[in-house]
Symmetry: C3
Subunit: 214 residues, 3 copies
């Protein structure tokens, strides 16, 4: 399998994972069929579309490559037809989401590098690829974006994207290095869930002065 | 009237229709003059700007062609000065919105095709052109985006964009074919309102587990 | 100092000002370290990234020029370590925000002109550069965007961007003209706060018909 196909496979597996998570969130909000498919597609492809626009990949792959839409539709069908078992199995869904996070951080960073951009752009857009769809889902469903909660989420994406960029600059480009970078991100994310890790937050006076500042 | 002018006229009529709907929504929220103009412009041009960025039409027409801003300002003036009669006539406003939906779906899909992109990109961006502005309005005004409600809205845009792409691929390009594609979308949207159509939604356990999944 | 460096300095000072305001808003919401840095970066660079995408400046400077991320991190550190004094001094923070508004409106409009775009695009994107980050912050933190409140905010950005475009077209391009355009915007903004200015808003029947229209 050549390098281009490898990253496309990574990207499609991540698309499926995120589309399932988006379809389940939409189903829980009692959205109709179009709403479920829309949210699934938005979560799965939204971050990638923003990344493609920023690196000059026009038209964005999520819109022009039929495989992305097909995978989103498949995931929506699974989330609808197998909803009861999917809902009951909380840990597999969080696992899917973590796998998607890692795959997208790595594939997104690599695509950015392949378009000739530097390390900083690649790491930032790897993070955007991984968390962007989830932020769009949370904004549209009026939830505080999960990346801003007290959880190790985008930090894990930062680790995965950073590892991929580091391996690339060090010329570690065997077939297994992207899977290793993905594993770093997924391991950090799952360990943070298991051990209850979180980043420092800051206590202080009650938040009754939210609107004092602009 | 040549083909380019025809699609520009379609686009400007749709811009006016959506700008009126946005200005009325902002007026109902008691926003000030700048807020009304901003929301009207956002609803009218937002989807088109996202489409133009995705197809490589830089700078986006909504920003560079003065007619779009002029039409948005005109619609804001109408919504402010004629607010009382506009509010009373619910059905004409829904009619305006449906007409805008159809015109934008068709003109947006056609512009995408004219930039050399394929059928899938054209249909998806026709939908984005048609519903994007309304989604931005709902997100900014903290409402659940109308496209996710149990109504036939984006599905009608899908029909209009799909018809336009089909006619184009079948080389049906007389002056009346875009109006026919627009009519398909508008008819579906208005019929769904009249007959109370909706897509399947899915009942199930109460949504007290919204935050169980990520 | 040559012209390019001048506008980069303007842009970085504005970035610092906005990043402080974003970090303080995130701190008030009790977000964790990553959340504070994310919101600070989003407020500081979000508008500029949208502008860069619309004018064809790929990749966006906020992602590719390390100075922007560095300034955002510095501002986050200041907001965290010096939080108590920063919170108490309400007027300096509003002053920082007004300075950022003016600097971004002017630098954003000028960058758009330098990419060969016309006056309308430059003024609109100068406004987007100045207010876009704040709108993203408010949407993500589920607040009604400040630009839609009854305050002179985006109108001041319009004045600053308009002045810069006017000076450019009139060939007033000494080293001090962008600072003058910035001063116009900052003066309008601060005077509106001091004197309680606002744009006309429109009274009317109670807003119990918000969802009557689509």
């Amino acid at each position: 399998m050549n390098s281009h196909s490898l990253y496309l496979v990574l990207d499609l597996i991540g698309t499926f994972a995120f589309a399932i998570s988006g379809a389940v969130a939409a189903r829980q909000r009692r959205l109709d069929l179009f709403g479920i498919v829309s949210v699934a597609f938005m979560v799965a492809c939204g971050g990638g579309i923003v990344r493609d626009v920023c690196i000059g990949a026009i038209p964005p792959a999520g819109l022009s490559n039929w495989r992305y839409l097909a995978v989103s539709l498949l995931a929506s069908a699974v989330a609808i037809l197998a909803y009861a078992p999917v809902r009951r199995l909380r840990q597999p869904v969080l696992l899917f989401d973590a796998i998607g996070l890692g795959l997208f951080a790595v594939a997104g960073a690599q695509k950015t590098l392949s378009f000739g951009h530097g390390a900083e752009v690649a790491i930032l857009l790897g993070i955007v690829s991984a968390v962007g769809g989830g932020v769009m889902r949370d904004v549209v469903l009026s939830r505080l974006p999960a990346i801003l909660d007290r959880e190790i989420y985008a930090s894990a994406a930062l680790a995965g994207a950073g590892a991929q960029v580091l391996f690339s600059y060090a010329h570690w480009t065997q077939w297994w290095t992207p899977w290793f970078a993905t594993f770093i991100c997924v391991a950090i994310r799952l360990a943070s869930l298991y051990f209850g890790w979180g980043l420092p937050a800051f206590r202080g006076p009650p938040a009754n002065v939210v609107h004092e500042e602009k």
